[in-house]
């Protein structure tokens, strides 16, 4: 079993996630963004979508399916970019 399939890897990923969330809160405060309760699921869903897209591209490359990696990357990037703008506008709502 490689390191990246081990429980320790996912534990470290969890630590990264916790640190990212704390840092995001501070960043949002500095930007004057009021992180109301309803905004958190919006951000989480967007981050999950981005994560799944990156995971899909990487898995496809690992499988040797370059067409899947390319098209998955393009679709993922476009949807993440467009939805990212929407999420940013929602975050700016007081």
């Amino acid at each position: 079993m490689s390191f990246f399939e081990s429980n320790i890897f996912w534990f470290i990923e969890g630590l990264f996630a916790c640190v990212s969330i704390i840092a995001f809160r501070i960043w949002a405060q500095d930007k004057g963004i009021n992180m109301a309760v309803w905004k958190w699921p919006v951000v989480i869903v967007w981050v999950l979508f981005l994560s799944i897209s990156i995971g899909f591209v990487a898995t496809s490359i690992g499988e040797g399916e370059m067409d899947a990696a390319f098209y998955g990357g393009v679709f993922g990037a476009v949807i993440a970019a467009v939805s990212g703008v929407v999420v940013w506008r929602l975050l700016k709502i007081r």
Binding site: M1, N7, G55, F56, T59, S60, G62, E63, G64, E65, D67, A68, Y71, G72
Partner: protein, 484 residues
């Protein structure tokens, strides 16, 4: 607000520090519990059986209970009949057609039952005769083209080098039963316990999937395809001891399989299936019961796909291959018929019939046009998709590499390696009664995992480009290892 109300409101508020402490304590408990569960799983994980990971049955991971149904998906639509193994099995009739091609015989000159068969299917006669000509054409291809497949052919031959000996030519009433000293059947505790035992030893013997069913006599050939103790001119009376059927088998190696039709082979999986089947038959005989292996290449007295469906291993797809949830159609089965009483498995339904109605990728990729793009037909009383075996076999002789094509298997959206992407897709299609996801995922499959132009799969001397569905794995690239 009065002072009393304000004071009461303040008393009901939980201080933030208390909340954080409670959350921390809960997290600690959950985290430690998780460590415990993870540790327990690590202790019993199949991956800890170093060297024997694949013999623990962990590959058969799909939750079949959730998708179990009372009746298999195939519909009985008329009076049923059993297939004639002498004519309806292509390999059994092929020698007659190719001999007719050499001696320029017409259908009317053939002996029965081949004469009647080909009179009702004259197109098959022309297609079957054509195989000689196709083989010669492929042999005329350039040395450079042929040399590309030297390693793949060596690997295919090597995989076929180990094979159990034949069951011989005694009648099943003799050959299926144990030798005298093991003759008395042991009294088994219960069918449930026996089924668990048989499945466990099947995994230990090397099977990847295993299923158990009662044998439907409609799946037994009416006339035998090979001798195996039967008279080829007499119909098979289904032996009374052929009560249960156990399906075992193995997948083909994934990377060469994706490089079909030229670099892949069926021999790797066939060899493993044969070994598992003979081991299991031997084990059952030692318990004192009858057991008969029906194995690939062509040592069958039964049709295996519907037995697989009955045993809950999967559903039959448009290409006539049974699609399993774990391996897609990358599974080459063997069957053991026996009278050992066992608890049987139920058939499953996980969305394949609906998926195949819309998908048709196998039919679109098939270079020979053997797979229908239309609906199901009445075949011997059962409604299913028709595969034109003569057209299929023509293509086998129109390309290089090991015998067989297997493009439909490689191109099938269900035949994907087991990672989170494809497991998620399977979960979605299996749980979507609206079939909306089937159409979306089929479109994605065509765009993201495209095949080749079907005519390119042919050998260059037949107008193709010797194309493969995917590039071969590094260890089958002859040009990287051998001076050509």
């Amino acid at each position: 607000m009065s002072n009393e109300e304000e004071s009461s409101k303040n008393e009901l508020k939980i201080p933030r520090r208390t909340l954080i402490k409670a959350a921390g304590a809960t997290s600690a408990v959950l985290g430690l519990s998780g460590l415990g569960v993870s540790g327990y799983q690590a202790g019993k994980a199949p991956s800890s059986y170093t060297g024997c990971e694949s013999f623990q049955g962990s590959a058969q991971s799909f939750d079949r209970k959730r998708f179990a149904v009372d009746k298999p998906h195939y519909e009985k639509v008329g009076p049923t009949s059993r297939p004639d193994g002498r004519t309806e099995v292509l390999f059994s009739r092929l020698g007659v057609a190719m001999s007719a091609a050499r001696s320029d015989k017409k259908i009317e000159d053939l002996d029965e039952p081949y004469r009647s068969y080909y009179l009702s299917r004259p197109e098959d006669f022309e297609l079957d005769k054509k195989n000689r000509e196709l083989m010669h054409k492929v042999a005329e291809d350039s040395t450079e083209n042929k040399n590309r497949y030297l390693l793949a052919e060596a690997w295919a031959d090597a995989m076929g080098a180990v094979s159990p000996k034949s069951i011989g030519n005694k009648p099943p009433e003799v050959s299926d039963f144990p030798k005298d000293r093991f003759g008395n059947p042991l009294k088994m505790k219960s069918p449930e316990a026996t089924a668990r035992l048989i499945k466990k030893v099947s995994y230990e013997f090397g099977t990847v999937l295993v299923g158990i069913t009662k044998l439907n006599p409609d799946w037994v050939y009416k006339y035998p395809s090979g001798r195996r103790g039967f008279d080829r001119n007499k119909p098979i009376e289904v032996p009374k001891h052929w009560q249960y059927a156990i399906v075992v088998g193995a997948p083909m190696s994934w990377d060469p399989m994706y490089a079909n039709p030229n670099f892949g082979t069926s021999n790797d999986a066939y060899s493993k299936s044969r070994i598992v089947a003979f081991r299991l038959a031997s084990f059952i005989k030692r318990l004192g019961y009858a057991a008969r292996p029906h194995t690939p290449g062509n040592s069958y007295d039964v049709m295996v796909p519907p037995i697989m469906v009955d045993a809950g291993l999967g559903e039959q797809g448009r290409h006539s291959v049974v699609i399993t949830p774990e391996l897609g159609c990358n599974f080459r089965p063997a069957v053991i018929t026996t009278n050992l009483p066992m608890k049987t498995d139920k058939p499953i339904s996980f969305g394949v019939q609906d998926f195949c109605k819309n998908c048709k990728i196998c039919a679109e990729q098939c270079p020979s046009g053997a797979i229908t793009t239309g609906g199901k037909e009445n075949i011997r009383g059962y409604k299913r998709y028709l595969l034109h075996s003569s057209k299929c076999f023509n293509f086998w002789n129109s390309k290089h590499g090991s015998m067989g094509c297997r493009i439909c298997i490689a191109a099938c959206p269900y035949t994907r390696k087991s990672n989170w992407v494809h497991k998620t897709a399977l979960k979605i299609t299996a749980n979507d009664p609206t079939t909306i996801s089937h159409k979306v995922l089929t479109s994605m499959q065509k765009r993201f995992y495209p095949g080749q132009n079907p005519s390119d799969y042919y050998a260059a001397t037949l107008g193709g480009k010797n194309a493969s569905y995917r590039e071969p794995p590094w260890w089958l690239k002859t040009e990287d290892f051998i001076e050509l």
